[in-house]
């Protein structure tokens, strides 16, 4: 456990050592600020059924930003080690492969969570200023951030997998971007093509992060989503472990 925590803290630190982290932080802060601003603007236009949480998490700029942040967070985790050769020093120390994979995943996840911290402040400010309890219920907050955490875990595991595939960070970023976007658009499929079978429509909505967020930001916490994201993340991490081992062994 000590080893895992050491590896994890090294991963988190190395995130913050890289300039990319600050670019992502600034970009994200600006984008979420914009979303919040437009959300408040929307609410102040008159009576509406939507809460500030829904207005914030269900806007187009928010989703675009959401997809864009994963590749830069995860692209370096394995690629850089392979490129610099440090993988050799790392993997000849008495550490196990799964410890390394989980630490890298965990490090990226910690950074991702740090990214969200400032947004909590927005809602505190909103509460203070608007004093409108109905517009922001505790269940909606829990739901939204839980959904963010779970979707984040899945997409970070996809990013880790992409990074384990190649020693080129750009290639890793492009792969994870494509997979995550595809995932995302898959959820939107039922909007684009009206005449698909109901089974497929059900499957698409089962996978749709967008729809999940719609539910969760209303405070509807559905346990099927936990199974979906949990098993997806586990599968991606397992694949990452296999690819990581394979690359090292054939190197």
């Amino acid at each position: 456990m000590t080893k895992f925590l050491t590896l994890l803290s090294r991963e988190v630190k190395s995130c913050f050592y890289s300039p990319i982290a600050y670019v992502v932080l600034c970009f994200f802060l600006g984008l979420t600020g914009l979303c919040f601003y437009s959300g408040v603007g929307f609410l102040s236009r008159g009576a509406t059924e939507r809460t500030i949480v829904e207005a914030f998490f269900d806007s187009i700029p928010f989703w675009i930003g959401f997809i864009l942040i994963f590749p830069p967070i995860t692209m370096r985790v394995f690629s850089e080690e392979f490129k610099m050769g440090t993988i050799e020093t790392l993997m000849t120390a008495p550490v196990r492969d799964w410890q390394v994979v989980l630490a890298k995943f965990g490090g990226a996840l910690v950074f991702y969570m740090v990214l969200w911290l400032p947004t909590l402040l927005y809602f505190v400010i909103f509460q203070q200023v608007a004093k409108a309890d109905a517009a922001s219920a505790a269940g909606a907050y829990w739901g939204s951030y839980l959904e963010l955490l779970m979707a984040g875990m899945l997409f970070i595991s996809v990013g880790c997998f992409a990074s384990a595939l190649t020693q080129n960070q750009m290639v890793a970023a492009v792969i994870s971007f494509c997979v995550i976007t595809f995932f995302f658009l898959g959820g939107l499929l039922s909007f684009f093509t009206p005449n698909i079978s109901p089974e497929f429509r059900m499957f698409a909505s089962y996978c749709s992060v967008l729809e999940h967020m719609g539910e969760f930001s209303k405070g509807m916490i559905d346990s099927r989503r936990f199974v979906f994201y949990g098993s997806g993340t586990a599968l991606m991490l397992l694949l990452t472990h296999q690819v990581f081992q394979f690359r090292r062994w054939k190197a």
Binding site: T6, S14, T92, A93, P94, R96, R248
Partner: protein
């Protein structure tokens, strides 16, 4: 300390090492030599549990490097080629991080990190960021890392590559000192280094072991262990045939330069025909201006074994 049995590693279609067998005893400093691409790094990577072999077995301190990999790693300090380090960490921070990974914690960690910094002369750069260090210092950080858990065995892949002559000398002294307490397997291309530091040499070429012995024995066992050079003014009858008949002489070559005849003799390693040669020259009243012996070096052995018939 190291035992390698029938070790084979195949990459997609290429056999990197083929059926290697060798062993390293406790306390030895063994030089692992071979041309680039001979399979040195592959062997070292297998020994360090970085990658598994295709077939065969290898063990370190009695622990199989594949099935008992964690124990084997505890007994081994490995410094990979080109010493990959995290450029964004500080020297002490890096050594502390590595120490924790190697299960050295608390007071012992502080002691060991202090010890290796002293041993590798890193005190003056302990707070510098690794990315800003010179190659020589980086090499020493790598070595300090390998020594952290005071392993019985050190495997060093080209520890002197890219260093200047002064740094090479420092690393050589360091390795020789380490040899008192550690078993060392090191690969290098600087052969005089090996002659000075190593008690035994394993030469590998195209994935196969060509020779494994002490440097002296290897030099002595060479086909042409050394040469003798005689420069003299000779008459019309130059005496090549007579020189060729002297005991121990295998081959004589002759050339002339400004009226002087230069004989180059290839000789057996155990006999020294210089005295007989001198007598021959005086009998014939040759004027001699040079009679010298050139000893074969490990470099000759290396070239002969690894170039083989291609010369």
């Amino acid at each position: 300390m190291i035992k390698v049995e029938n070790l084979t590693k195949r990459y997609a279609g290429v056999t990197a090492i083929h059926d290697l067998n060798f062993h390293v005893e406790k306390g030895e400093i063994v030089g692992f030599l071979g041309p680039n691409g001979a399979g040195k790094s592959t062997t070292m990577r297998i020994l360090s549990s970085y990658m598994p072999a295709t077939s065969g077995r290898a063990s370190i301190a009695g622990f199989d490097v594949f099935s008992q990999s964690m124990q084997a790693r505890q007994h081994l300090g490995y410094m990979p080629e080109n010493v990959p380090l995290y450029p964004d960490m500080r020297v002490t921070e890096y050594l502390n991080y590595r120490a924790t990974l190697k299960e050295i914690t608390g007071t012992r960690q502080r002691e060991r990190v202090g010890d290796v910094k002293e041993l590798c002369a890193l005190k003056e750069v302990e707070n510098r960021i690794i990315g800003t260090l010179s190659k020589g210092y980086r090499q020493r950080v790598g070595l300090a890392d390998a020594l952290l858990h005071s392993p019985d065995l050190l495997i060093l892949d080209e520890p002197t590559i890219g260093l200047d002559p002064n740094q090479i000398r420092q690393v050589r002294d360091l390795i020789r000192n380490l040899g008192r307490h550690h078993t060392i397997l090191l690969s290098t291309h600087i052969l005089p280094e090996v002659e000075m530091t190593c008690s035994r040499v394993v030469i590998i070429n195209r994935g196969k072991i060509e020779a494994a012995d002490t440097p002296e024995n290897l030099v002595n066992a060479m086909r042409a262990a050394g040469g003798i050079r005689l420069e003299a003014k000779v008459g019309m009858d130059n005496g090549v045939e007579e020189i060729g008949k002297l005991p121990g002489v295998k081959e004589v070559a002759m050339e002339t330069e400004d009226g002087w005849t230069i004989f180059t003799l290839r000789t057996d390693s155990r006999t020294d025909p210089r005295e007989a040669l001198w007598r021959l020259a005086t009998d014939r009243r040759w004027t001699v201006r040079e009679l010298s012996r050139r000893r074969a070096t490990l470099e000759d052995v290396f070239v002969e074994l690894t170039l083989g018939d291609e010369v």
